[in-house]
């Protein structure tokens, strides 16, 4: 019998193995029987936890963008840096394309993911509704996830600290610690989303 399209079947994105979706218990995972790719991690109410974590990430992201990230002191001079200066500084120094790339990876992608998830998850969790544009937005949020590089930026900040530590005194601002918290919350939020549950609930949600 040829299988027909339905949500009963799963296909592995890495090897195209076709198999029937097993019935899962809380915390169980589905691995591809052929290539052992991790396909799903079933957690009941994954969206509740994800929405709480996303709101926390959104709050920390705002703090990270409106307070000083680092302060540099050399002699009597002092220079405070806010996050957006990592973009505007490059533009001012004649590297607009580089500035645009940094903006996409550290501002646009996280804003789209956090804002998008809040827009998708809150109506779903609160009243099983979906707002207009939810379906294309969900595709975009999923597509943007690999261009969000906040954790790589943090590693860059640590390297910069060590690089400048010998020339000048650097102090970390509130924004730096908010940024660390943002990474923890956003990583946990993205890891806790069961995309199968998200899409199934979006599909069945009232408009």
């Amino acid at each position: 019998m040829r299988p027909s399209g339905s949500s009963k079947h799963l296909a592995c994105p890495d090897c195209d193995a076709l198999f029937e979706a097993p019935v899962l218990k809380e915390g169980e995972q589905v691995l591809c029987p052929q290539c052992h790719a991790l396909l799903f991690h079933y957690r009941r109410n994954s969206l509740h936890r994800a929405s709480a974590l996303t709101i926390a990430a959104g709050f920390l992201f705002l703090v990270a963008n409106f307070f000083p990230f680092m302060t540099l002191r050399a002699g009597y001079r002092e220079n405070q840096m806010v996050l957006s200066q990592s973009v505007s500084g490059l533009e001012a120094q004649g590297s607009p394309y580089l500035g645009a790339a940094v903006a996409i990876f550290t501002l646009v992608a996280p804003t789209l993911i956090i804002g998008g998830l809040i827009y998708l998850l809150l109506p779903l969790v609160a009243s099983s509704r979906r707002l207009p544009g939810s379906i294309p937005l969900c595709r975009w949020v999923y597509r943007m996830r690999r261009w969000n590089m906040v954790e790589v930026f943090l590693l860059g900040a640590l390297v910069s600290l060590l690089k400048l530590g010998k020339l000048a005194t650097l102090t970390l601002g509130i924004s730096f610690w908010a940024f660390v918290g943002l990474i923890i919350c956003l990583t946990a939020a993205l890891a806790s989303i069961d995309y199968r549950e998200l899409w199934a609930r979006l599909e069945n949600a009232q408009r």
């Binding site: 090897c15 680092m70 860059g156 020339l167 899409w199």
Partner: protein, 208 residues
């Protein structure tokens, strides 16, 4: 053109929606749930992966030979290449930083380019599909960490604005290097690991 291996979703006329994960008949053309286009395999996967990888190889040379950072201070101007920065950290005994920068900026891009070429070859030869699929997953995962040096430049330029005392400017290699990372990430996204399994099945069974 290419044959799908028996029992695969594609051999049954079923496509996995790359956006929402639904399995649907490919004849629908678009996913009924999320409206993304349905494909049995990524379109022109190997051509795109190879074109993007070769562009990355071309840009890899200016990225490493030109300065990524220019520092002007009272003691004079100084230009740093990526490898120069690693050597500087190593000589000042900052071994962990030297190792991080060397891994992220030198090792990962080279290994990623080799891995992408190897994967394209595997998609034609079909040997060791399980190991190659694992290589693909690692390649997709680590690529973004190469961007760390670009962020270091961005942060240094922003934080060091001390007027006449010292000033830091981005070098021409910074944009080339960012392009190398972006191109290899796009190449990994274009690559379709399912082609390896198709090729492996063709190798096992003689052509019908």
């Amino acid at each position: 053109m290419s044959a799908f291996y028996p029992d695969s979703a594609a051999a049954n006329g079923l496509a996995l929606c790359h956006a929402c994960g639904r399995v649907e008949r490919v004849t629908l053309a678009r996913c009924p749930r999320c409206d993304a286009r349905l494909h049995l395999r990524n379109p022109a996967s190997l051509q795109r992966t190879l074109a993007l990888t070769f562009s990355a190889i071309l840009l890899y040379f200016p990225a490493n030979m030109l300065p990524i950072l220019k520092v002007e201070s009272i003691s004079g101007a100084q230009a740093n290449t990526i490898v120069g920065g690693v050597i500087q950290f190593w000589q000042s005994a900052d071994y962990p930083v030297a190792i991080i920068i060397f891994t992220a900026s030198v090792m990962i891009p080279i290994l990623k380019i080799i891995a992408l070429l190897w994967l394209c070859l595997a998609a034609r030869l079909g040997r060791h599909p399980l190991a190659m699929t694992r290589l693909y997953r690692i390649t997709e995962l680590v690529g973004r960490w190469s961007m760390v040096d670009v962020f270091v430049v961005a942060i240094l330029v922003a934080v060091v604005q001390l007027g006449s005392v010292i000033s830091i400017h981005p070098g021409p290699a910074a944009l080339s290097f960012a392009s190398v990372v972006i191109l290899t990430m796009l190449a990994a996204i274009s690559f379709d690991p399912r082609l390896i399994w198709d090729a492996a099945a063709q190798g096992e069974a003689p052509h019908a």
